[in-house]
């Protein structure tokens, strides 16, 4: 067993334990919030918020760094990392949007509103979805890779826009932990949020790891396939 396999298994076990602890904390320790925040439904927050910062934004940051790295050096690994993290950005973006919509239905009475923060977040998910679709349905040539890498870099520009849209343009989205927000009143709420951050960050790292490995392996197989065909082996 390789050292990286040991590290992966260790991270996987740790992530599972932390998620189990998080769920126990949320359902048995954290108190209910006020009705205007959704009452019990406010407990969606402990997955929703970490999935944004430690899932969606972390994936975007990795995609940005890897895409910039690919544009600078054009290595197979940076391309695979950029592609894998774009996949993860879409997955965590879906978690963010779906959990947010269900919570909004309870707290605001509507599934969706064209609030600046919600709209910019949706647009960012769509940008990374475009990257995923582009890479899935196009040839894996140098031009396609560079175009996807440019989109991966440009998509990250939206992150500070999402972050500061509430302060700049107002809207309905709560400002809880930022300047001007009222914060979390109970220590158990703060503790659950911290655990949520750690759990979601670990899950995000594991996902990016697996997706990157997938693309590295895939590109190696393509090369081996081509070499095998050139040496007279058929595809079977």
């Amino acid at each position: 067993m390789r050292a990286s396999d040991w590290v992966f298994d260790l991270l996987l076990a740790l992530t599972g334990l932390i998620f189990a602890y998080l769920i126990a904390q949320i359902f048995f320790v954290v108190p209910d919030a006020q009705l205007s925040a959704g009452g019990i439904a406010q407990k969606i927050f402990y997955f929703h918020f970490p999935s944004i910062f430690c899932g969606f934004f972390l994936s975007i940051f990795v995609c940005f760094a890897a895409s910039a790295g690919y544009l600078a050096s054009s290595t197979e690994w940076t391309n695979s990392l950029a592609r894998g993290s774009a996949d993860c950005a879409v997955a965590f973006g879906a978690v963010m949007l779906v959990s947010g919509m269900i919570w909004a239905k309870r707290a605001w009475g509507i599934w969706w509103t064209w609030d600046p923060q919600l709209t910019t977040a949706l647009l960012t998910v769509l940008i990374y979805l475009t990257v995923v679709i582009l890479r899935t349905f196009s040839e894996d040539g140098a031009a396609e890779r560079r175009f996807a890498a440019v989109l991966g870099v440009l998509g990250a520009v939206n992150v500070p826009i999402i972050r500061y849209s509430v302060q700049k343009w107002g809207g309905n989205h709560p400002v809880v932990l930022r300047k001007g927000g009222a914060g979390l009143s109970d220590p158990a709420m703060v503790e659950a949020l911290r655990i949520g951050f750690v759990a979601m960050a670990l899950l995000c790292i594991l996902f990016i790891w697996l997706r990157t490995e997938r693309y590295v392996l895939r590109s190696r197989l393509v090369r081996v396939d081509e070499e095998a065909l050139s040496r007279g082996l058929d595809e079977s």
Binding site: P31, D32, A33, Q34, L35, S36, A37, G38, G39, I40, A41, K43, I44, F45, F47, H48, S51, D87, A91, A94, V95, V98, S99, I102, W103, K105, R106, A107, W108, G109, I110, T113, V166, W169, G170, G171, N172, P174, V175, V176, G181, A182, G183, L184, S185, D186, M189, F207, L210, R211, E213, R214, L217, R218, L221, V224, D225, A228, R231, L233
Partner: protein, 80 residues
């Protein structure tokens, strides 16, 4: 039912208050509980689907790699 109509959405530039602990638990448990269960089910479904898709894809690629290994092993070891 509190906050059930679209008109209950707060006006722009009004920063909503944070989360505060309430004594005795919140009321209207059914609707809130349904929302909570729905959200957690959706979150786990998305994450599980992503995990499953990744796992299946990796398994398929590893099987492909094994097939290639076998095929390469059957090649005559003669210089090109």
């Amino acid at each position: 039912m509190q906050s059930s109509a679209p008109s209950s959405v707060k006006s722009h530039n009004a920063l909503p208050e944070g989360f505060v602990k309430v004594e005795g638990g919140a009321t209207e448990q059914v609707s809130e509980t349904t929302s909570l269960l729905l959200a957690y089910t959706a979150i786990w479904l998305i994450l599980m689907a992503f995990t499953l898709a990744t796992w299946r894809s990796l398994r398929s690629l590893r099987a492909h790699a094994a097939r290639i290994d076998r095929a390469v092993g059957q090649l005559p070891r003669t210089p090109q």
